[in-house]
């Protein structure tokens, strides 16, 4: 049971590659935080730094108020589940789960109790005497979770635990992790590249790209108020429609004109734009596919477009359409909102009329940052990125060349 605090954490590899830039985050006690982002964004590296498997180049990580930078993984009181399970192949499932307890010299009858208890929760009791190679992927992952469970540690780290499982099993295990979390009631840090996992599991989501944090927030926050284009496109599937257009300010009212259709911005969104004192400018207008409304007939606020592909997903239809100027739009329409005849008429080549209201609009400036986010956030972001660029240039310039020169001289080799 512990809070984790990361302050200015940075990871620079030997080859001067910066994997994580100035990572600041406070994880509250018993919180479930998910790091999400495309591969190579530094999410796993950050997790491994918390675990102590990677050195921290700069900054501090503290668990429960204690700075753990120089502590060995074994002294940090953490449990971790790996993507590839990392079960000890020469030990039975029982021995695998008991390994950490035996290292702590826990009496054998207590070990027995804990292991059987964990096995029961995970439903692997009948496999306790098997070796890992005789188990299926899902069972192995359960063993790996069991091994972490019995440690009763302050922090539970999970590095893409579900990505080696097939889709069906993944859904099932995801639900089980939610149940597990209720039972364990400890601090979780979970890494995934799958935004669905992030949205369903996390109390808070940390969205990362290229070693930078793009946004931290609850699933609702990152979904409703994405801080920039990257977050907007990353969260949600299919990804958000991005329309290059113009935002026009007329006194105290705003208007966008996607594909020549004039739409007024009303309500909360308008207030936020006014608060940020946004002027007339070129913008990217974002609308999620599920927020598109399909109109039966032409209307003044409808964008006409041609249906290209109709994907029947079961409960909903994904309509891929193309506008007159060649831009692509995707709309998600609930199957039940259409009659059978209407559904059957949705064939390639049919003209669709799509619209959306201002509640679902997202506005991104030319730098990709949301015009709805507060000005302070934007300023901070700019200063930070500028600083970091400079740091990289400095690091490259002063990189230690003498060592390489000496070694190539000694060995008579040149790189």
């Amino acid at each position: 049971m512990a809070a984790i605090s990361l302050k200015g954490v940075k990871k620079i590899y030997d080859n001067k590659v910066v994997a994580v830039h100035d990572f600041d985050l406070d994880i509250k006690d018993k919180e479930f935080v998910v790091f999400v982002g495309p591969s190579g964004c530094g999410k796993s590296t950050t997790l491994r730094m918390i675990a102590g498997l990677e050195d921290i180049s700069e900054g501090t990580i503290s668990i429960d108020g204690v700075v753990v930078n120089d502590l060995q993984p074994k002294d940090r009181d953490i449990a971790m589940v790996f993507q590839n399970y990392a079960l000890y192949p020469h030990m039975t499932v029982y021995d695998n789960i008991a390994f950490s307890l035996r290292l702590k010299k826990v009496p054998e009858d207590e070990v027995y109790e804990k292991v059987t208890n964990a096995a029961e929760i995970l439903g692997i009791t009948q496999y306790l005497m098997r070796k890992p190679r005789a188990l299926s992927g899902g069972q192995r992952q359960r063993v790996a979770i069991g091994r972490a469970m019995v440690r009763n540690s302050k922090v539970f780290l999970m590095d893409e635990p579900l990505s080696n499982l097939d889709a069906k099993l993944r859904n099932q295990m995801r639900a089980e992790i939610i149940l597990l979390r209720q039972k364990l009631d400890t601090t979780f840090v979970y890494v995934t590249h799958d935004q669905t996992e992030a949205m369903t599991l996390g109390d808070r989501i940390v969205i990362m790209q290229d070693g930078y944090i793009e946004q931290v927030g609850t699933p609702t926050e990152v979904f409703d108020m994405p801080a920039n284009k990257f977050v907007a496109e990353f969260i949600g599937a299919p990804k958000m429609n991005m329309i290059d257009t113009r935002l026009t300010r007329m006194g105290d009212s705003y208007m966008v004109s996607p594909f020549g259709v004039n739409l007024f911005v009303e309500g909360e969104k308008k207030n936020l734009l006014l608060k940020n004192d946004v002027q007339t400018q070129k913008i990217t207008l974002g609308v999620r596919p599920e927020h598109m409304t399909l109109l039966p007939a032409p209307a003044p606020d409808a964008i006409p477009c041609t249906l290209q592909v109709n994907e029947m997903m079961g409960s909903e239809l994904h309509l891929h359409a193309v506008t007159e100027d060649g831009s692509r739009l995707i709309a998600r329409v609930p199957t039940l909102s259409l009659t059978l005849a209407q559904r059957e008429s949705l064939k390639a080549g049919k003209t669709l009329y799509l619209t959306f209201d201002s509640r679902v609009m997202h506005f991104f400036g030319e730098d990709g940052v949301s015009l709805l986010s507060d000005a302070d956030y934007r300023r901070q972001l700019e200063i930070k990125k500028e600083n970091q660029k400079q740091e990289i240039i400095d690091a490259l310039a002063s990189s230690d060349k003498s060592y390489n020169e000496i070694m190539s001289f000694l060995l008579g080799t040149k790189k």
Partner: protein, 293 residues
């Protein structure tokens, strides 16, 4: 399928088995001949060691009179002393060298430090120099330390063990194939690096540990040149190969030939037993199911 086609397919099948049978037979014949050729010297030595009617070399293989005399006579010489010398030396070398090699391999496989690559290259280059080159200087060093002649056994131990870290290639290669996440999992589970090596890596590397022990044991067990050089003819400092060699000199061979054979059999015995006992680990693969798959 028509009947013709079925017949054709069957013919093809028969042809396949027939050709396979022929090639198998050929392989077995070759293998049998080769093993007979390889075994002849050993069989001869074993038979000679039981010959009691004469002690010199004779023109036939099967003894006319059988007995244990040659083995009994060994006790009248320094044979058992040399044997013990060699045995202790080999056991100690095997133990120390295995520990050093495995630690070295684990370090080079898992740790990343600045001199890692240069060190590996350096050892590779040093390993290319023939060991004979170092004999004179090693002799001087050992002589200064007083570790020659009757003290040559500890001297030899020092020489055998000192450079053992350089034999890291095979086991490092094996350790590299073991997923690093196993180390990481164990470290998170509360193990330090040494425990990771002993409890996780080594149990998974049985074949390579056995290989390391065997090679470390065989080196001193069969060493002749260096051991002879260091012991300088002092019986107390000889190993079994050096000691027995003297029996083969011009004036001794007629008297000692069958005893030499008996000694040879006794020398071959522990190594043979070791191989018989340990060979099954060679083929045992244990890495299945470690990580995904």
């Amino acid at each position: 399928m028509s009947d013709v086609k079925v017949q054709k397919a069957m013919k093809q099948h028969m042809g396949l088995t027939a050709s396979r049978r022929i090639s198998n037979t050929a392989i077995y014949i070759v293998l049998t001949i080769m093993s007979v050729i390889w075994l002849i010297p050993f069989v001869c030595i074993v038979l000679q060691s039981f010959r009691v009617e004469s002690t010199w070399q004779v023109g036939y293989v099967i003894p006319r009179q059988w007995g244990w005399d040659n083995y009994v006579n060994l006790a009248k010489t320094d044979f058992w002393r040399w044997y013990t010398n060699t045995f202790i030396l080999a056991i100690l070398t095997a133990a120390l060298q295995t520990i050093i090699v495995l630690c070295m391999s684990y370090t080079l496989s898992r740790f990343r430090f600045k001199m890692r690559k240069p060190l590996m290259k350096l050892m590779l280059v040093l390993g290319l120099f023939p060991g004979m080159m170092t004999m004179i200087i090693l002799y001087r060093v050992l002589a200064d330390l007083g570790l020659t002649q009757k003290n040559s056994i500890p001297g030899l131990l020092l020489v055998y063990v000192a450079s053992s870290g350089m034999g890291y290639y095979v086991s490092k290669g094996f350790f590299d194939t073991i997923s690093k996440s196993l180390d990481e999992a164990a470290r998170v589970d509360g193990a330090n690096r040494f425990k990771v090596l002993v409890k996780i890596i080594l149990p998974m590397s049985k074949p390579i540990v056995i290989y390391t022990v065997l090679t470390a044991f065989m080196g001193p067990w069969g060493d002749f040149v260096f051991a002879r050089y260091i012991s300088m003819g002092t019986s107390a400092g000889k190993n079994v190969a050096v000691g027995m060699y003297d029996w083969l000199s011009q004036d001794q061979i007629g008297k000692n030939y069958t005893m030499f054979c008996a000694g040879g059999v006794l020398v071959a015995l522990p190594v043979t037993l070791l191989f018989l006992f340990l060979q099954r680990y060679y083929v045992e693969g244990v890495t299945n199911g470690a990580v995904k798959g």
